[in-house]
Structure formats: structure tokens, C-alpha cells
């Protein structure tokens, strides 16, 4: 069956050829039917003519019998008028004979001419008999009838009877032939129909199979591809569009396999690279931890000795040494904050900072921030207030240590940048969040720099750093801690009037541990 597939021709042409073949078969069947119908009508016409000939022949036969009978009657009734009836009958006879002669073939015409010759001779004898009857010579007339007319009529009658028999036989044979032809054409038509149906069915089956088989094969390959098994091929005997389709499919599958292999290779490389990066990141973390240790050890000694010196452990401290000693301590603590901030930020960026979610009280957190910064505020003569909205739930969720760190950063900055007036920390409910706000009456932030305050190592202006100190990392770290909680942070500020920093922490905070 694959030979249909192997034919190098488009599917459309194959289908056209198949349909054309079937159409031709039907045309042939139609032509044959037309031919058969024509043949049948010709045969039935012949039969009709034969039937007419038989009727004429029988009419002739009958007319002849009438003539004989009428002649006998004329002799019996001795009436000449009866003979005239014979003549009338003769006219009918001649008419029928002429019709028959026109309808028959040559051999039969010879017989008819002989019959006519006999009849003409008979008519002469009838005329003689009529004359004798008129003259009253009945005996002579009877004698003439018996010796001449009667034998002559009998010989004509025999000939006509033979003719009738022949016509009859011809008609019977024609009828038989017609019946046989009918039978034959019926068989031929049935065969034609059967062959056409078989051919149409067979052709349809062969062609559809040649088309369906590659579809099944392609289906199988597509299933494999869908299942992620690339590289399989599909082979079909088709040399048509389906053959081309199969070849394309196979090429696609091979290409997919190649891409898959490439992708796997790339993934492997990426994996290796990732492992290296992870190692590098770990090394970085370790380096930072070590650095932190290395920096803290001498810092510990500096701060320790300074404290012991200030505490009078080495003897009374001269008044003029007290301020420089306090300066050493302030700067030492600043350096410590810097180290801590850098460490925090690097941990956040390495994704190693994790929040310790716990239940906490806003009142407590805010109170601890106030306690830590109160002395600074008092030193600067600033008003430092905390307000906790009574509508806030008593128990909140979050990393209290980090939230406190955020508030310390914001409030520390606020105190730092405020020369007169005060700083207020507020905690209030804001929808599904708790909102912490730190507002001051400080120098404010120019509008064009508001967007940048949360960027790393940024302070509004380099001179600000010199005047007020600070690492420039506090706000950036604060923003990251807030975002790790799933909250957001923003700032409102008017230059020379003050700033307000707000951040929210979701009340049901169960969020991702990394930013």
C-alpha cells in the first residue's frame, strides 16, 4: 500500500487522479447505458416492424381465404355480383401485399413477386369464371374453378402460409434476442456498478491510509517532543507534502535535541559558575566577618583604655584632658557604628540577613529608642517626645531588634540635623500596618534630593557629612529592613522647616527573609 505514498506527486494531484479515475468509470457506465438504451429501442423497433409484417402476411392469408370462399359462394348462388366481392377482396389483398413487399428484404420479395404473379393469374381465371356465370354456363364455370382456380389458390395459399410462418419465426427470434440483450446489459451494468464501488472504496482506503500513516507517525514524534524526549526522527515512505513535513519534523526534533544539549551544557556551566559565585560570596562574607573581628579588636582596646582613663583608673584626670578623652570615645563609637553598618549592609546584600520574627510591643520598642537617645537630645537642648496611638494592638509581629535599629537610625539622624525645636516618634495604626513616623524641626531636605536619601553612601550634601557626621548607610539599611518586613518607607520634607520619615510594618508580617 505504501506505493501510493512513494509516488512523487503532491497530495492534491493524487486525490485528483483518484477522483478522476472514478469519474471516468461513471462516464463509461453512463455511455454504456446510453448505448444499451439505443440498442434496445432499435431492437424493439425491429420487433414492431416484424409484428406489422406478420399482421400483413396474416391479412394476405385471410384475404386469400376470403377470395376462395367468395368464388365458391358465387358459383353456388350463381350470382355474378358475388364475383365483384372477390375483386374487392383482391384490392385489399394487393394493398396488403404491396405494404409487405415494402417492409421485407430481397429474398422475401422474390416470393412476394411469385405470389403476385399467381394472384394476377388467378384474377384472370376469376374474370373468366365471372363471364361464364353471367352467361349461365355454370357447369363450365365450376369446371374452370375446380381445374384451374382452386389449385392455383392452394399453391398461393401454401406460399403465403410459409411466409406467415417465416415472419412468425423471425419475430420470435427477434423477441428472444431482445430478451437476451436486456439480460446482458443488466449484467454489464451491475458489474460496472460493483467495480466502480469497489474501486472507489479501494482507492479511498489506499489514499487515506497513505495520508493517515504519516500523520500517526508525526503524532508519535510530537508526543515524544511534548514529553521532553528530543532527537527522535520520523520516517515515512511518502514523497509528497507529508514526506516533506516528516523531514521538517525530524529536522526540528534534531534541532531541539541540539538546543536541549546546548542548554543543558549552559545550565551546567551556569551551575558551576553559580557554585563559584556562591563560594566567592561565602569568601566575601568570611572576609567581612574577619575584617570586623580585626577592626573590633584594636577598637576594643582603644575604647577600653579611654574609658579606664576617663574613669580615673590611672589616677585623677586633669580638667583639660576630659574633652579630648570624650572626643576619642565619641569617634571610637562612630567608627564602631560604621563597622556595624557595613557588616549589616553586606549581609543584607548577600541575602544572609534573616529577620527574627517575634511578638513585640510598640510601646516598649519606642520607649527603648527614647531611652537610648535621651541624653543626646538633652545635650542639644531638644524636645524629644514619643507618642503611641492607643488604638494600636498591644502585641505586634516583627523583628523588634531591627525595627528598633530603624527607629534609632531615623531618630538619631533627626536629632543630628535639628538645632532647635524637637523630634517626635509616633506609632499609629495605618490600615493593615503599623506606621512609625519620626518628625523633626531640622534643616529639611531639598525637594530635588528627596528621592536619593535612601541610596547608599548618600547624604544630602557632602558638607552635611562633615558638619553632622553619619555613615550615609543608616537610611539605606533602614529601607532594606522595612522592605524585608513587607513594608514601605517614605519621606516628607520642607527645607529649613523639618522632615518626617514614615515607615510601615504589616500587622500580620510573615514575609520573605531577604530583599
Amino acid at each position: 500500500m505504501s506505493w501510493v505514498a512513494q509516488v512523487r506527486a503532491p497530495v492534491q494531484r493524487k486525490l485528483l487522479v483518484a477522483f478522476l479515475l472514478i469519474t471516468l468509470l461513471f462516464i463509461a457506465m453512463g455511455a454504456f447505458s446510453l448505448f444499451t438504451i439505443r440498442e434496445m429501442s432499435r431492437q424493439s423497433e425491429l420487433l414492431d416492424r416484424a409484428h406489422q409484417r406478420l399482421e400483413r402476411a396474416q391479412e394476405i392469408h385471410h384475404s386469400l381465404a376470403m377470395q376462395m370462399h367468395l368464388t365458391a359462394m358465387a358459383l353456388l348462388v350463381r350470382d355474378e355480383a358475388a364475383v365483384a366481392s372477390v375483386l374487392r377482396e383482391n384490392n385489399r389483398f394487393n394493398e396488403a401485399l404491396a405494404q409487405l413487399e415494402a417492409a421485407v428484404e430481397d429474398p422475401e420479395r422474390v416470393v412476394i413477386q411469385k405470389v403476385r404473379a399467381g394472384q394476377e393469374e388467378a384474377m384472370v381465371i376469376v374474370a373468366d369464371i365471372a363471364n361464364l356465370v353471367r352467361d349461365g354456363k355454370i357447369a363450365a364455370a365450376t369446371q374452370l374453378h375446380a381445374s384451374r382456380e382452386d389449385p392455383l389458390y392452394r399453391s398461393i395459399d401454401a406460399r403465403v402460409a410459409e411466409m406467415v410462418q417465416r415472419e412468425n419465426a423471425g419475430m420470435v427470434s427477434l423477441r428472444d434476442g431482445l430478451r437476451a440483450a436486456q439480460q446482458r446489459s443488466l449484467v454489464v451494468m451491475a458489474s460496472f456498478a460493483a467495480i466502480s464501488v469497489l474501486l472507489a472504496l479501494g482507492g479511498g482506503f489506499v489514499i487515506s491510509w497513505a495520508l493517515i500513516r504519516p500523520v500517526y507517525a508525526a503524532h508519535g514524534l510530537l508526543n515524544e517532543l511534548a514529553g521532553g524526549r528530543f532527537g527522535g526522527t520520523v520516517t515515512v515512505p511518502n514523497r509528497d507534502e507529508f514526506g516533506e513535513l516528516a523531514a521538517r519534523l525530524s529536522a526540528t526534533s534534531r534541532e531541539l535535541a541540539r538546543l536541549d544539549a546546548e542548554q543543558r551544557c549552559a545550565a551546567q556551566e551556569l551551575g558551576a559558575l553559580n557554585a563559584k559565585l556562591e563560594q566567592a560570596s561565602k569568601a566575601k562574607s568570611e572576609f567581612l566577618a574577619n575584617m570586623s573581628h580585626e577592626l573590633r579588636t584594636p577598637l576594643n582596646a582603644i575604647l577600653g583604655f579611654t574609658e579606664m582613663l576617663s574613669d580615673g583608673l590611672y589616677g585623677p584626670v586633669p580638667a583639660q584632658y576630659k574633652e579630648p578623652l570624650a572626643d576619642i570615645q565619641t569617634n571610637g563609637r562612630h567608627l564602631l557604628r560604621l563597622i556595624n553598618d557595613v557588616l549589616d549592609l553586606s549581609k543584607i546584600e548577600a541575602g544572609r540577613m534573616e529577620l527574627a520574627m517575634e511578638e513585640y510591643s510598640a510601646q516598649e520598642v519606642v520607649g527603648m529608642v527614647r531611652a537610648s537617645l535621651r541624653s543626646l537630645a538633652e545635650e542639644k537642648g531638644l524636645d524629644f517626645k514619643v507618642e503611641v496611638d492607643p488604638g494600636l494592638p498591644e502585641v505586634l509581629r516583627g523583628d523588634a531588634k531591627r525595627i528598633m535599629q530603624c527607629l534609632l537610625n531615623l531618630a538619631g539622624n533627626a536629632l543630628k540635623f535639628t538645632k532647635r525645636g524637637g523630634v517626635t516618634i509616633r506609632a499609629a495604626r495605618d490600615g493593615d500596618c503599623v506606621r512609625y513616623s519620626v518628625s523633626d524641626t531640622g534643616i529639611g531636605i531639598p525637594t530635588d534630593q528627596l528621592a536619593e536619601v535612601f541610596a547608599e553612601f548618600r547624604q544630602v550634601d557632602a558638607t552635611v557629612t562633615r558638619e553632622f557626621g553619619g555613615t550615609g548607610l543608616g537610611l539605606s539599611i533602614t529601607k532594606k529592613f522595612v522592605e524585608m518586613h513587607g513594608g514601605r518607607i517614605w519621606v516628607e520634607s520642607r527645607l529649613n522647616e523639618g522632615s518626617a520619615f514614615h515607615f510601615t510594618i504589616p500587622l500580620r508580617s510573615e514575609i520573605a527573609s531577604t530583599v
Binding site: A289, R296, L299, N300, A301, G304, M308, L313, L343, M353
Partner: protein
């Protein structure tokens, strides 16, 4: 009451000097060790009243030394304050797991440390 002995295990000379000078004003007797191994040995020999243990030490870490001392029945009950400059999260937990009595992060205030020592081992 007899004089209380404190063992300080620390590799940095300046940090040792701070404690030395801090305790010189008190009645505590100070023993020093420069690394983890000698720290453990000194603790087993001296059976001090309190041990101050740094974490980052040569030869053996302060955490491991603490575990060793906790495993030894003679030193299992000696209070140990772990002092670390490794400000990583979970350090306090690690110190606690190792069996430390208290935990202090560097830089510490000498004043606070002394208060802590007096709280755990009152002066004679």
C-alpha cells in the same frame, strides 16, 4: 574568704593589658592564657573561680575550649563569660550552646565587664 582567681584566655596583648589593669584595682587574682589549648590546661590546673574566654583564639577556638571544660567534671561548674568580636547573628546562641554562663560582644565597656564579674563572682 580567700582570694578569687580569674582566668583570662585571650591572644591580644592589649586586651589582656586592659583586664590586667582593670583587675589590679581589685582583690581578684588574674591568670592569663594565650590560646585555647593552654587555656584549657590552665583551667584544669588552677580550677579558677571564673573564666573569661575570647572566641577567636589560636590552636583551639574559645567555643571548643568551653565545650572541653564543660565535659570535664572538675571544671564543669566553673562560670565562663564568652567574649567575641565576631558580630554575626547567632553568636550568642553558639556561646550558649557551648555552655557559657554569659556572653559579651566586643567592644565592651571595662566598667560593664567588671560589674558582670562582680555579679557572678563577688569579690572576697
Amino acid at each position: 574568704m580567700s582570694q578569687k582567681t580569674i582566668l583570662y584566655v585571650e591572644d591580644n596583648e592589649f586586651n589582656r593589658k586592659i583586664i590586667r589593669q582593670l583587675l589590679a584595682q581589685t582583690s581578684y587574682r588574674l591568670r592569663e592564657a594565650h590560646d585555647g589549648e593552654s587555656g584549657v590546661r590552665a583551667a584544669q590546673d588552677e580550677l579558677p573561680d571564673l573564666i573569661l574566654m575570647d572566641v577567636q583564639l589560636p590552636k583551639m577556638s574559645g567555643l571548643e575550649a568551653t565545650q572541653r571544660l564543660r565535659a570535664d567534671p572538675r571544671t564543669a561548674a566553673v562560670p565562663i563569660i564568652i567574649i567575641t568580636s565576631y558580630a554575626m547573628d547567632g553568636d550568642a546562641q553558639k556561646a550558649n550552646d557551648a555552655g557559657a554562663t554569659a556572653y559579651l560582644a566586643k567592644p565592651y565597656s571595662p566598667r560593664h565587664l567588671l560589674a558582670k564579674i562582680r555579679e557572678i563572682v563577688p569579690e572576697a
